[in-house]
Symmetry: C2
Subunit: 474 residues, 2 copies
């Protein structure tokens, strides 16, 4: 019985023109990564769940795609049900008291019985895992780029897919702020090449940590950071409510809100220096930002790179610079790239004391924005064939195959319409639909004269060519 | 507590040099695909299990990686256990009679309760699914290429991984044998470009079908095909035993064995013509081979393309030409590519009557063979940086950043050693380890004279350059 096929929600097929457009973006990003000295790395699609879980917060753990173990996992599950309820021996008397709900704790205990592997959730954790596993082969500083898909069982919506590509560049084993500046310049250069105007926002987690110290709530650092991270979505009033929930008093909240205004100041770095004069970490954060901006002065970015003290970013592992990129126009308001410095990411895998900094490009969102703003180059076509050879009969088909082979030998994409058909119109139709530039129609006259008419299907222009002229088409 | 990280069995990390080598192969294949007019397609990593199951035989179904449904799948499993045993109501009295083993049938019934999605197993079935879903947007003949990873929960061994890449090219909607010839020529061209001598074997399933008719066992066609497919592994004696198991008598088996000798004949096509003089399908098969070889005569392949009547291929959907490629030398004896014609692949997805033909390259096996035979180009390096700028202090660091930016503006990969260190040796060590060709060491003298010494780290040669000469390095 014939199936009506479909694909999983949140995933997409990429038609030829879509692949070409995505490759255009990928090649642009990769070219810049290479120019800045980054080397490619690829990690497996599947990672052990022990590598992935606990790295992205509770929400992240729930969004991991898990792969069923090979073999008789259902039997293992029955066994698990026993074990999960404390019955090590096969004794199913527990079942009558089982209410059908399995608590989070049991869920976590159950997992290895049915799934030990999951799909890659981002590229940063696999990178940290790789560095830790290959520490003896790696030369530090290690500059790697990685462009691969990741998967999250998130609710699909505008700009959010369940399978999407990240393009990351990270430097580990170097604390120089030149890295921060070069990564910001890479953002600038890529989006300049893509003709997509963007705003690049920078902040430093040390300022947020110092802020927590300044208001006598150092233990609330991450809670404050997470509240500020929601500013775009819930506004200042919403952030105040979140901060109240953290147990902060009105004075503390007022201090935070007034800190958030600093980005609007004419000399924000001076204001920050003043504010954090008595907080060592704040002074360091300001100095890091100053140094980064002074390096950037030598690199001449073309897009605005703005200090934004309201930038917080959700991930817990950042310890220094944090960065985010937004498109200047278009309906997608969420970020199309982001990153930051982390001082101890490989520590969780047994390799402490290595600082790193990285950025990520969101391929799918960039593609959505370029599509909406009609910024893809016009010369990107699904099919790269330059010339189609058409013919009337078996004899002229052979000549078409010969000439086509010669054009291909010259490195130019060419095709012979494969099926014998008297209908030249059908053959030309194929060329027109695929936007092939030239068509060459071969019949007995052409073979006799050894001259071939090549028609430009865009302009309608025709030209008679010798076989040698033909093979030089491009 | 620090984890000792690992990756799942049968999967691999690809270090920078390994990625560069794989890209070299991928780019070579892609370049040839494009030259022959193929367009890129990409399908999701996850497919619905309804799309995948039943397409690769029972063994294939078992090798599919299945993804656990989101949400409270464990609760669903408890419910399943009830349903699987025919207890629609919550009634667990069945359990005492449950022996802990779940039959294959129950397993299949259970599956949707815990997993509705699986990882791509090959690129052909997703392609057929895509064509069927997008039939109205596709221009026929449709020539697509697809280069993506696939996953099989197979036992890892030499040349067999659980995550590996296929590079496929298929033409659907054309019955012309020119397609067969061009695909064979693509194999020839790619392996010529890779400097890897190969043997390309061709057969036609119609001969095997005609053989079954000839020996009065048409119903045993696929069983005979599967037996012949094992010839390489189990030898002629083994094939005989397999054929006996199919219920064939000694005369029939002798006829098959004598058919298998035909490849060794000096004029195999003539022998086949004679053998199948009375079997229509056999005559068609021979004619198809003749036509394919006559097209190939115009295309001038450089590697041997041999008719091999013992070539059978395991997949059931082939109906015409079948192809396989083996490396001429090296220890990997299994195929590094294969394909064939299928007349009704999209039929299972509701689009009957469309013939197609395709080939596949096994990236990972090709990489293994090139590695073993040391055929990767010497100029492939992990890092593509041409010049490293080294410096002594903050002032010379700024000059290094300026000069590096100029080299990069010229499209050449360049780096500044990021961290301030007086140890120039450490900086040069970095360049040497990464096989960076040039180093430029900047100090106050260089800044004063505006002349910079560039050292070729391979030859030891040094040259003093002006900033303009420096930026023209490549």
């Amino acid at each position: 019985m014939a199936q009506k096929p479909s694909i999983p929600q949140g995933t997409r097929d990429f038609s030829p023109i879509m692949v070409q457009r995505r490759k255009y973006i990928l090649n642009t990003i990769e070219g810049v990564f290479k120019k800045y000295g980054f080397m490619p790395l690829e990690t497996p699609t599947m990672e052990n769940l022990t590598t992935l879980t606990g790295k992205y917060g509770d929400e992240g753990d729930q969004l991991l795609y898990k792969i069923i173990n090979s073999g008789d996992y259902l039997k293992k599950l029955v066994e698990y049900q026993d074990k999960a309820f404390g019955h090590e021996e096969i004794d199913r008397t527990f079942l009558p008291s089982f209410d059908g709900k399995i608590s989070n704790l049991d869920y976590k205990k159950a997992l290895p019985w049915i799934a030990e592997k999951g799909l890659r959730y981002d590229l940063t954790v696999p990178f940290a895992r790789y560095v830790s596993m290959n520490r003896n082969e790696i030369t530090l500083p290690f500059k790697r780029y990685q462009m691969q898909p990741v998967w999250r069982a998130d609710k699909p919506q505008k700009g959010r897919y369940r399978e999407f590509w990240q393009c990351d560049a990270d430097i580990i084993g170097s604390t120089s702020l030149l890295n921060e500046a070069e990564l910001l310049k890479i953002y600038d250069e890529v989006f300049t090449l893509l003709n997509l105007p963007v705003v690049i926002k920078v902040n430093n987690r040390k300022l947020l940590s110092a802020l927590a110290t300044l208001i006598n709530a150092p233990e609330s650092f991450m809670a404050i950071t997470m509240a500020i991270d929601k500013l775009d979505k819930i506004g200042e009033a919403g952030v105040k409510i979140e901060l109240e929930k953290c147990g902060l008093n009105q004075t503390q909240i007022d201090q935070i809100i007034s800190f958030l205004q600093i980005s609007n100041s004419s000399l924000p770095l001076n204001d920050l220096e003043e504010l954090f004069a008595g907080v060592e970490e704040g002074k360091i954060g300001v100095q890091e930002l100053k140094t980064t901006f002074s390096f950037l002065g030598i690199l001449h970015p073309l897009n605005p790179i703005k200090l934004d003290v309201t930038l917080a970013r959700g991930l817990s592992y950042y310890t220094g610079a944090i960065v985010e990129v937004q498109a200047y126009s278009g309906s997608l308001k969420s970020s199309i790239g982001g990153g930051g410095r982390y001082d101890n990411l490989t520590g969780i895998f047994g390799l402490p004391g290595i600082s790193g900094v990285g950025i990520s490009f969101g391929l799918d969102r960039i593609a959505d924005v370029l599509d909406e703003l009609e910024l893809f180059p016009n010369n990107l076509t699904a099919c790269e064939t330059k010339i189609l050879f058409c013919y009337f009969d078996e004899e002229s088909q052979i000549k078409a195959i010969e000439l086509c082979a010669k054009v291909r030998n010259n490195g130019v994409a060419a095709e012979v319409y494969p099926d014998l058909t008297k209908k030249i119109g059908k053959q030309l139709d194929y060329a027109n639909k695929l936007k092939i530039t030239y068509a060459c129609i071969i019949g007995s006259n052409e073979i006799a004269s050894n001259k071939y008419v090549v028609k430009n299907l865009n302009s309608g222009e025709q030209k008679e060519m010798s076989p040698i002229e033909l093979t030089q088409i491009n």
